[in-house]
Structure formats: structure tokens, C-alpha cells
């Protein structure tokens, strides 16, 4: 279904596509989704080499230009350091207990096919098709962006203070890999949460600190959230039934969902943090005016 939704949205964003999928969890293990422009060389024996570097057992699954490596939960920092040495060409797409992120340039249909997206499964997922306005069309510029562990961000819009904010965050020691504005948004949320904010609080303060247009969708291990800027030019449509909650940039993305004719279809309010969790249902944090 997510694949179909992505393909329907091709004319909103034909240059790249990505998907975040929250799949199966293995107790005590962390999943690193890795990407390489030379996967045959880079992913060859990567599990053995990374395992040797970490002195542990590492398993990996290669999917086209991406590979998912399972490492012990407490070895993330060591793994990141080891990867930079043993496979400098490999880029980290995501980390998390359940999260995997796949993204590439090209038409959404082609991207979906190369990763065989329609065969993936999980508790929830987020797809994004990109029409670049702020930075180059590259794999690293595609969405979703991984923020903290098991967290990701997709964005429709453009941030206008991303250069100043990038410099500030880099001074604070936050790693930002591209000139992309959304990555700065993702890094900002990560930074806020590193300082102790919850995701809801980080999004709430984003309303003050992020200048520009945005409809954000954030994914977490047990749910997803939506936030639109106070002007809310960038579209957002929700569909809810007692079976699912779905988000789309427009109704066309949702038309083939089961029971859409009787679903509650509505638009999120501006400057309001919405969150849906498998655990608690929906929570809403209104921005105090």
C-alpha cells in the first residue's frame, strides 16, 4: 500500500524517493541501515569485518545499494568509528531497534522496485517523494532523515534559516552531512532531544526556532507525529479508521486505502503537534497562542 501511495505521488516529487519502515526487532540488537555507491565491494564480507572490529557477531542483509547490519545495542559508537575506517565509502542511513531507511534518486516506481518495497512489512512506515528545491538531488539529500535512534523525519517545504542553524548545531557538536535544509531540521530535533526534550517538546520548540515552510512527519518506534508551520501552506491530509491512521500530502495518495470511503478524512491544524502511537492512540499538543 505504501508503495502504491508513493507511486501516486510521483508528480509531486519525481527526483528521489525514500521509505522508513519499522520492522521486526531482535532483542539486544541495533539495526544499522547502510548505503554505498559501490555495494559489491563495500558490502562484501562487511559483516565479518565489522564483527572482527567490534569483537562480536554481526549479521547483514544486502538489499540493492543498502545493507542492514545487526550489531549489539551498546556498540553503536564503536561501530560508527569502525565503519569509517574499514569502509569509508559506506554511509549510515539510519539506526534503530526496528527502523530501516531506504532511499535513492530516481522515479518512485524505480526506487520502490530496486528495494522490493512492496514485500517489506512492519508496524508502520513513512514514504517520501522529493522535488528538490534547497539542495542537490542526491541519495543523501533524499528523505526520510534519521534523527535519533528509531526516529526519522520527512518534510514538505523549505527552511530559510538552515544555514545559520547548521553552523550553530555543528558548533554544538551535532553531525550534519549535507547542505540540505531538512537534515538541519532533523539534526535540530536530535539536538533538542539530546538535551532532554521529548519529541513532542522538540517539535513544539521547532515552531519558534525553525523559520520557513514545513509540514513535517516524524516517525518513532511506536508511532508517528505531524506538525505544520503556523501559516500551513504545505498540504496535509489524514485518514483515520478504527484499523489505521494514514497521512498524505493530498487525498489522491489515500484513495486506494481500504475503507477510505467511510474513513474520517481531515486536515491537521497549523502549529499543532499531533501524535499517534500504537500504545496510546492519539495525543494533541496545542501551541499556546
Amino acid at each position: 500500500m505504501l508503495t502504491e501511495m508513493l507511486i501516486t505521488m510521483t508528480d509531486r516529487g519525481p527526483d528521489s524517493a525514500g521509505i522508513a519502515i519499522y520492522g521486526a526487532e531482535v532483542a539486544g540488537q541495533l539495526k544499522l541501515t547502510l548505503q554505498s555507491s559501490d555495494p559489491e565491494t563495500d558490502f562484501d564480507a562487511l559483516d565479518a569485518d565489522l564483527g572482527a572490529a567490534l569483537d562480536t557477531h554481526v549479521t547483514q542483509r544486502v538489499i540493492d545499494t543498502h545493507a542492514v547490519a545487526h550489531i549489539p545495542s551498546d556498540q553503536f559508537d564503536a561501530a560508527q568509528k569502525a565503519l569509517a575506517e574499514i569502509r569509508p565509502g559506506v554511509r549510515l542511513m539510519s539506526r534503530g531497534e526496528t527502523l530501516e531507511i531506504y532511499k535513492e534518486v530516481g522515479l518512485p516506481r524505480d526506487v520502490a522496485a530496486r528495494f522490493d518495497l512492496s514485500r517489506m512489512s512492519g508496524t508502520h512506515g513513512i514514504g517520501h517523494t522529493r522535488m528538490a528545491t534547497e539542495s542537490a538531488v542526491t541519495t543523501m539529500g533524499a528523505h526520510p532523515f534519521n534523527t535519533g535512534s528509531d526516529q526519522c523525519l520527512v518534510h514538505n517545504g523549505s527552511l530559510s534559516n538552515h544555514n545559520a542553524l547548521r553552523r550553530k548545531l555543528r558548533r554544538e557538536g551535532v553531525t550534519i552531512q549535507t547542505e540540505n535544509d531538512t537534515e538541519v531540521g532533523a539534526a535540530y530535533l536530535t539536538w533538542k532531544m539530546m538535551q532532554g526534550a521529548t519529541l513532542g517538546e522538540a517539535l513544539q520548540s521547532g515552531l519558534d526556532d525553525l523559520d520557513g515552510f514545513f509540514t513535517f512527519v516524524v516517525g518513532t518506534k511506536d508511532g508517528f507525529g505531524v506538525l505544520r508551520d503556523p501559516i500551513a501552506c504545505k498540504p496535509a491530509v489524514m485518514a483515520e479508521t478504527d484499523q489505521y491512521v494514514a497521512f498524505g500530502s493530498e487525498y489522491r495518495a489515500l484513495v486506494n486505502l481500504p475503507g477510505i470511503d467511510t474513513a474520517r478524512v481531515w486536515e491537521p491544524e497549523p502549529a499543532t503537534v499531533y501524535f499517534w502511537s500504537h500504545a496510546d492512540g492519539q495525543t494533541i499538543h496545542d501551541k499556546a497562542a
Binding site: A232, C233, V237, E250, Y251, R252, A253, V255, E267, E269
Partner: protein, 227 residues
């Protein structure tokens, strides 16, 4: 009755067929099935025909309408009836952003809620919303009437010219230069007519009228320091 399957036969074919109708046409009733949120359905019509869309539409449904009556049995995406000149557009569900934007004439009825910027820069269109409207509605509205049976969001009627605004429920905040005004007999009469035409179950006396304070029309030397 002409039935057109949008999914099977495509958008260009639909709009070409509707544009081919003239004042003398006897193919006056059309039904569009499988709209599935498509954009630009029934735009640029200019004939006294009656078009019913069986489902929800995407962007710019019934834009630039003249003479025709377009009914949507579902919700509409952004920009429904944008720049309408005459005729009627009736939406059974909700409307997204900027419904009826820049409309010069005709009647737009939204039986559910309308989102932000409803009636932005309206120039003579009449809009009746049975439910609520979002923020920045009737921004820079120049002429015409916006009737809201529910509540209005922030900054209603910001930088308003001569459009008339009537709200039955609450207004979250008024925009710059928009003020509450007295309801005179001619306003009640106008409102009654519009409510009846829109099939809205509300009484004219329950509404409050808002309009331009006309303080932004001329340069005010006292505020020159602000520039």
C-alpha cells in the same frame, strides 16, 4: 444524463467534452464517476449545465466556472471554484485551502468545513460555509459575501476591502483593519437570501457582521515612523 468515467477516460477528455457544451446544448446533465482525488476536474466551464462529481476531488475543482452548476458528492482539495465568475459550486463535504479564492461572482456552498484562506482576495463571489473556516480567511477580500455558520479561525478579514463577512459562531481573532459592524435590515435580507440559496439551517439574526474599518485605505502620517 451523460456519465463520464474519469479513471477510464481521462481528464483532458472530460474537460474537452464539458467545454464543448454551449448555451443551446441539450446535454445538460453530467455525472463524473471515479474522481479519486484528481486535479482540475470540471474547470473552465461556460455553459448552463449541471455537473455532479461522485466522490472527492483534488486541487482546483470547478475553477474559473461560468454559468454551470458543479456539485461534489465528497470533499475537495485546495482551490475549489478558484476565480469563479458565475454559476454555482456545491461541496457536500469539506474544502481544503483557499476555497473560492479571487472569485468574481456566483455562489460557492461548502456543506462541511473549509480550511485556511477561504475566500482570499474574493472579488464578488458569495461563499456560504455550513461549518467552520480556517485562519487568514477573506484576506484582502475586495467584494462579495462570506457567510460562516460555524466558527472562524485566526486573522479573519485581514487587510479587508469591501467584502461583507458574516459569522454565526466565534472568531478566533480578527485580522488587521477588520472590525465588527452593526447588522442593518439590508444585511439581514442579504443573509436570509444566501442562507436559503445555500440550504443552510440558520437564522440571519444569529450572525455577526464584520467588515473593513477602512483605516488602511490611506497613508496615515502618524505611522510614518513605522516604515
Amino acid at each position: 444524463m451523460q456519465t463520464y468515467d474519469l479513471e477510464a477516460d481521462g481528464l483532458r477528455g472530460l474537460n474537452a467534452a464539458l467545454h464543448a457544451q454551449t448555451a443551446e446544448t441539450n446535454r445538460t446533465r453530467w455525472e463524473i464517476i471515479n474522481p479519486k482525488g484528481s486535479h482540475a476536474i470540471a474547470v473552465g466551464l461556460d455553459a448552463p449545465i449541471d455537473v455532479t462529481v461522485k466522490g472527492s476531488t483534488g486541487y482546483y475543482c470547478a475553477g474559473m466556472n461560468q454559468q454551470a452548476t458543479v456539485r461534489v458528492e465528497g470533499s475537495v482539495g485546495p482551490g475549489v471554484a478558484e476565480n469563479m465568475m458565475s454559476g454555482e459550486v456545491i461541496v457536500e463535504g469539506d474544502a481544503s485551502q483557499y476555497a473560492g479564492a479571487t472569485g468574481h461572482g456566483g455562489l460557492l456552498v461548502i456543506k462541511g468545513n473549509a480550511s485556511s484562506r477561504c475566500g482570499i482576495s474574493m472579488k464578488g463571489i458569495d461563499i456560504v460555509v455550513h461549518g467552520n473556516i480556517g485562519h487568514m480567511s477573506a484576506f484582502m477580500a475586495q467584494a462579495g459575501t462570506l457567510v460562516v455558520c460555524g466558527d472562524a479561525g485566526d486573522a479573519l478579514g485581514d487587510s479587508l476591502y469591501e467584502a461583507r463577512l458574516f459569522v454565526r459562531g466565534s472568531v478566533k481573532s480578527l485580522g488587521a483593519d477588520c472590525v465588527e459592524k452593526e447588522m442593518r435590515p439590508e444585511h439581514l435580507a442579504l443573509l436570509e437570501t444566501l442562507l436559503e440559496r445555500a440550504g443552510a439551517d440558520a437564522k440571519a439574526e444569529e450572525f455577526t457582521r464584520y467588515g473593513s474599518a477602512r483605516q488602511l485605505y490611506n497613508f496615515d502620517v502618524d505611522t510614518s515612523a513605522a516604515y
